[in-house]
């Protein structure tokens, strides 16, 4: 359970998820999707109950294996993509000699140019979303938590992002995506999870019928 004052954002969520799958979390605004994701990332702490991530109840110990992408970009607008990623790579104890290679790989994996010197603040929304995904991938995480990765981007960019998310799952990562645009992932998702009033009310392998 996760409570903010008297409001319970999550209540009685009991679920188990397997590794290496792509889960799409759906629900109306205020259903608790983002809170669930933030709790899994260790950004919100459950008021009651326990959560085990990557086999450990101590999420802090698992942080090196978690990649998190939020609705805002989590990037410094005044720095270039490569500068941003270099900084975040250092937070993940990536050896100094490997930082540049890992950052370039992450940026190339989202189909952006690592040599682009423009600050992120001057990127288009689609580019910013992809760079944000690159930031989440820089530590090569086992668990990828993506909050609204397709918001404010055009249909083509959203489709490209969906392909990148599926590719991450294909490389063995466990991926959770919170989205209002589930159709983008209809072909790729292993499971759709429907949430209502802080509860998981339905889990299904097909988008049709996901709303319980």
């Amino acid at each position: 359970m996760k409570q903010f004052g008297r409001f319970a954002a999550l209540r009685g969520v009991t679920a188990e998820f397997s590794a290496g799958k792509l889960y799409v979390i759906l629900g109306d605004n205020g259903a608790g999707k983002t809170t669930l994701l933030r709790t899994m990332a260790g950004l919100a702490h459950s008021t009651r109950g326990k959560i085990t991530v990557l086999g450990s109840e101590n999420i802090q110990a698992s942080r090196a294996q978690i990649g998190y992408m939020a609705h805002p970009s989590l990037l410094y607008d005044e720095m270039s993509g490569m500068e941003n990623l270099r900084y975040f790579a250092k937070l993940y104890r990536i050896p100094a000699g490997e930082v540049d290679r890992r950052c370039r790989e992450a940026i190339l994996s989202v189909k952006l140019d690592p040599d682009l010197e423009r600050p992120v603040g001057q990127y288009s929304q689609g580019m910013r979303q992809r760079m944000s995904l690159a930031r989440a991938l820089v530590n090569d995480p086992e668990l990828l938590l993506l909050d609204e990765p397709f918001s404010n981007v055009d249909a083509r960019s959203a489709a490209e992002m969906a392909g990148l998310v599926a590719h991450a799952r294909d490389r063995g990562k466990t991926v959770f995506v919170v989205t209002h645009q589930a159709a983008q992932l209809e072909l790729y998702a292993d499971e759709f999870i429907w949430m209502e009033s802080g509860r998981i009310v339905n889990r299904t392998s097909a988008l049709q019928g996901a709303k319980g």
Partner: protein, 224 residues
């Protein structure tokens, strides 16, 4: 090892961001310049009067100017919620605090280095006591301002009126440090008393509050 890497990386990133935006340093410079000029016109003190009031004037100007840098330091972490990216990483909390405090120290010290010659010129200051002791006082005093300021700016991050909140939290706690800075500076400028007691007070203040801030920062960072 990782502790130092993260501290250095965060400090370098903050200096780079400030160098590109110049948000804090421009606002601090402008504010301090206004204080120097307006007060010198308003009072027009003699050299003797200047020695008595300059300590208070200088440090109050730096304290108010530092608020600008302190508010800025966390404000840039809130844009695009970048602070969450730090919180989900395995990096410990203390390097973030240390880097922010050292960064603020550098910005405020740079301001002091630029403004001190102006204060000397406008107020015709010449210390009658051991002038070199103003250097350790400046270092200790500046650290006292920024270490608490960085901590309380982080604490007021999630409040609605955080720019008002910071001075409300910081100023009462800074009174002992401010007394130390002002009295030791005045003691040196007038040459009438020894600044030793006030310098010792500043040392004690810095040790106590630096320790407390380091111990409590993780709780502040992880608070929702």
């Amino acid at each position: 090892m990782n502790f130092l890497t993260v501290t250095r990386a965060t400090l370098a990133k903050d200096i780079r961001l400030e160098w590109r935006s110049k948000d804090a340093i421009n606002a601090m410079l402008f504010f301090s310049l206004l204080v120097v000029v307006i007060f010198s016109f308003a009072f027009d003190p003699t050299a003797e009067e200047s020695r008595r009031i300059a300590g208070g004037l200088v440090w109050v100007a730096f304290l108010f100017a530092a608020i600008v840098a302190l508010n800025q330091t966390w404000a840039r972490e809130l844009r695009n919620q970048v602070l969450d990216a730090y919180r989900v990483s395995p990096a410990p909390a203390i390097p973030l605090f240390l880097a922010k405090a050292v960064g603020n120290f550098i910005f405020v010290a740079a301001l002091e280095a630029l403004m001190t010659p102006l204060f000397i010129a406008f107020y015709r200051l010449r210390p009658l006591g051991p002038g070199w002791q103003l250097i350790p006082i400046a270092i200790l005093g500046t650290w006292a301002l920024v270490v608490n300021g960085t901590f309380f700016a982080a604490m007021s991050l999630r409040t609605r009126a955080r720019e008002i909140m910071l001075p409300l939290l910081l100023f009462p706690l800074s009174i002992p440090a401010l007394l130390g800075m002002v009295n030791s500076t005045t003691a040196i400028l007038t040459g009438e008393t020894s600044p030793a007691f006030w310098i010792a007070l500043l040392v004690a203040y810095d040790v106590v509050f630096t320790t407390a801030c380091l111990l409590l920062f993780e709780t502040v960072l992880e608070a929702e």
